[in-house]
């Protein structure tokens, strides 16, 4: 009986949510007025502090979305770590110690680190930015992990917590500071916009890399032998 009630309640809630969603989409479709977004963006690009329109949208005009996005990422990272068996994070034993991989990563890791730095720096005036740089940084971390380089900062502890939350907290701090100093939430003062954007992007890169790497590292380690490729 309670089961049926629970199913009915869940169905009702889902239906209400769905109809709300359909209604809001209907509203948006009915009231939309054609806005020339590229022209609007090009006209306001000078105020944003950066030259790349994508970065300008992501970190200035619609930075609220990016703030929420990094929040979601951090939550996903924490969830990934918490469902992991703690032994895999604490385990000093490394996954593989492949000689070929070890030789390869000595060439690749410096290059990927350099590439991540370049992507971060390039984000302000050409394609690139925090997310791409963070992903590349995380990829170099994955290579290091696979190649058997110990990374103590990924063990549960202060460093991990700090790294995971750094991007979101700095972003939020800037947002609140701008709200307190008189302008609106997340509205940067124009003369400091570029500095603030670059600073936020840097901490975002670190946090994103940390989240992605923590997701990879916290996957359970199997004691079973290596299976054949594609064997199932």
């Amino acid at each position: 009986m309670t089961r049926v009630l629970a199913i009915l309640t869940v169905t009702a809630v889902c239906f209400a949510f769905l109809s709300g969603l359909v209604y809001s989409i209907w509203q948006i479709g009915a009231t939309t007025t054609p806005v020339d977004l590229p022209a609007l963006l090009a006209g306001n690009l000078d105020d944003s502090g950066v030259e790349n329109p994508v970065t300008a949208v992501l970190l200035n005009f619609r930075s609220y979305d990016t703030l929420l996005e990094i929040g979601v990422l951090v939550i996903a990272g924490i969830a990934g770590i918490s469902v992991a068996k703690t032994s895999s994070l604490e385990d000093p034993e490394l996954r593989t110690s492949d000689e070929l991989l070890y030789a390869l990563q000595r060439w690749l890791v410096p290059l990927t680190l350099l590439l991540a730095g370049y992507l971060l720096w390039a984000g302000s005036d050409r394609p690139g930015g925090a997310f791409q740089a963070g992903a590349v940084l995380a990829a170099s971390g994955v290579l290091m992990r696979l190649g058997g380089i110990p990374m103590d900062f990924l063990r549960p502890g202060l460093m991990l917590r700090l790294g995971l939350s750094l991007g979101f907290s700095v972003f939020l701090l800037v947002a609140v500071a701008s709200a307190l100093s008189g302008s609106r939430f997340l509205a940067y003062p124009p003369e400091m916009a570029r500095t603030l954007i670059v600073a936020i992007e840097t901490v975002l890169t670190l946090s994103i890399a940390m989240v992605l790497l923590a997701l990879f590292v916290s996957a359970p380690i199997n004691n079973a032998e290596e299976p054949e490729e594609g064997g199932s």
């Binding site: 997310f131 791409q132 992903a135 992605l212 996957a219 004691n223 079973a224 299976p227 199932s232």
Partner: protein, 91 residues
């Protein structure tokens, strides 16, 4: 003309890899096709003149998700083989 044929080839390759991901019974195969799909998708974003999205797709979609999926597939197949004949290995 060459650009058109390139685009059509790209679309066909995308469709083929996407259906291969969905229809492959072997997990490892599926993941490999998924990575190939991600790389082709990055090319498609480049063709659509969205280099930012292409970079993100190549780095996150093909690279990191691929690594995570490969890891997951390996663990899944390990669990399976342990369920079948792993008992004598580990008492």
């Amino acid at each position: 003309m060459t650009e058109w044929s390139l685009d059509i080839l790209l679309v066909i390759a995308l469709l083929v890899t996407a259906t291969s991901v969905l229809w492959s019974r072997d997990l490892f195969r599926g993941v490999v096709f998924f990575i190939a799909f991600g790389l082709l998708m990055a090319l498609a974003w480049v063709r659509l003149r969205a280099p930012d999205v292409a970079l993100a797709e190549a780095a996150i979609g093909a690279g990191l998700t691929g690594v995570l999926l490969l890891d997951a597939a390996r663990h899944l197949s390990n669990d399976e083989s342990q369920g079948e004949d792993g008992k004598e290995k580990k008492p």
